[in-house]
């Protein structure tokens, strides 16, 4: 498990660990009593990935919705 807190992970870090979590759950490589914690970790990673994707989409939208269809730069937005 990556030591970086989930809320500080890059998209790539979160996605890589999420893939490991899914593989473990699907392969039954995890104990019954730990299965739920692993699922919850996976859920947190999924949310992190979604947040990063959404931030990227907003950035793209900020570029492409500028006047007259001409990219003139990016607008400031809240997402980190």
């Amino acid at each position: 498990m990556n030591d970086t807190p989930v809320e500080k992970m890059s998209f790539e870090q979160a996605m890589a660990e999420l893939e490991q979590v899914v593989q473990k759950l699907e392969n039954g490589q995890v104990a019954l009593e730990e299965s739920i914690q692993l699922y919850e970790r996976g859920d947190a990673l999924r949310k992190r990935c979604e947040a990063k994707l959404q931030a990227a989409e907003e950035k793209v939208a900020a570029i492409t919705t500028d006047a007259a269809g001409n990219p003139t730069g990016t607008k400031a937005f809240d997402a980190q």
Binding site: L25, G28, Q29, A31, L32, E33, S35, I36, G42, D43
Partner: protein, 316 residues
């Protein structure tokens, strides 16, 4: 009412408390104590209460090879715990508890087949539906419900036995033990993804004798009822079982700490009634239900009591 078939039997034994698990372990003796306490209510006075006998070795061998039984026996320590996997631990009292658990199911099948009672509930631990042919796992040592089903087929000559498993975890053990058994229809609902990772719809058994109907995390009782009504109940009706067994795990309850389905007590009442409908139609009402999981003591006790109450109403 003694001697009448118009009743429900409760099979259990205090030896099932003697399978102690390490401090903090979810599958603990207090689960059974909580169920017993709930069943002390006067509403359950009409239960035909019976002590579970120790299962004969020949019963275990209906689904497990001799090597598995010998390995479990050999693993039992004189003191302390031995861990068979990350979840499954045995100590001095574990073997006797496991033999009572199997004995309960075997005797419940006998009582129902003999017409002594209409249906039966087995309040037992350790549970059984994760135990594979040679692999104890997920708190389980022997395949309790599978052994009962095999006895009904091979001792009583039944041709069709159904098992419905609504425990929140997939019954991988039951699936493993009965994969190549065309006389049994095994139907499982369970959360996916979750332990043990099996239970995809594409896992259908060697004879299309297995139906796996997984539910995504956070599914509620409405989703459960839908999948039962659309997939499992019609298949059971077509199969026309002569005896219906239930792997009754109550860990799909919304308060359970080991999973994320959101059933409530009424959903367990509903499914019990639907299963009894199938049994009434095809099996002369014969139902044997066996405890599997359920790890929140309050909801476990309430759900089990409600389940047994339906059995009593339908057995009366």
């Amino acid at each position: 009412m003694e001697g009448s078939a118009m009743t429900t039997a409760l099979f259990t034994h205090s030896d099932c408390l003697e399978h102690e698990t390490p401090e903090g372990h979810s599958e603990r003796a207090d689960r059974l104590r909580a169920i017993w306490k709930a069943l002390e209510d006067p509403a359950f006075d009409a239960l035909d209460r019976r002590e579970a006998p120790l299962a004969e070795r020949s019963e275990l061998l209906r689904v497990h090879p001799e090597a598995h039984v010998a390995a479990i026996e050999a693993a039992i320590p004189a003191e302390g715990y031995v861990s068979l996997d990350a979840d499954t631990h045995v100590m001095a009292g574990s073997l006797v508890a496991a033999l009572r658990a199997v004995g309960a199911v075997v005797s419940a099948v006998d009582a129902v087949m003999a017409g002594e009672v209409k249906n039966a509930f087995c309040a037992i631990r350790p549970p059984g539906h994760h135990a594979e042919r040679v692999t104890p796992m997920g708190f389980c040592l022997f395949g309790n419900v599978s052994i009962g089903a095999k006895r009904a087929l091979d001792h009583y000559g039944l041709e069709r036995v159904a098992i419905i498993d609504f425990d929140v975890h997939h019954g991988n053990g039951t699936q493993d033990l009965l994969w190549d058994e065309p006389r049994i229809l095994f139907c499982s609902t369970h959360q996916m993804p979750l332990y043990p990772g099996t239970g995809e719809p594409r896992e259908t058994g060697a004879h299309d004798n297995i139906i796996n109907a997984p539910l995504p995390p956070m599914s509620d009782g409405a989703a459960f009822r839908k999948i039962m009504e659309e997939q499992i109940l019609p298949a059971l009706d077509d199969f026309q079982p002569e005896l219906v067994l239930i792997s009754a795990g109550f860990d799909a309850h919304k308060d359970d700490p080991l999973a994320q389905l959101n059933f409530d007590v009424e959903d367990f009442v509903w499914v019990t009634e639907k299963i009894c409908d199938i049994a009434d139609k095809h099996a002369g009402g014969r139902v044997v239900s066996t405890l599997e999981g359920g790890y929140d003591l309050e909801s476990l006790a309430a759900s089990t009591a409600a389940h047994v109450k339906v059995l009593m109403e339908r057995g009366a």
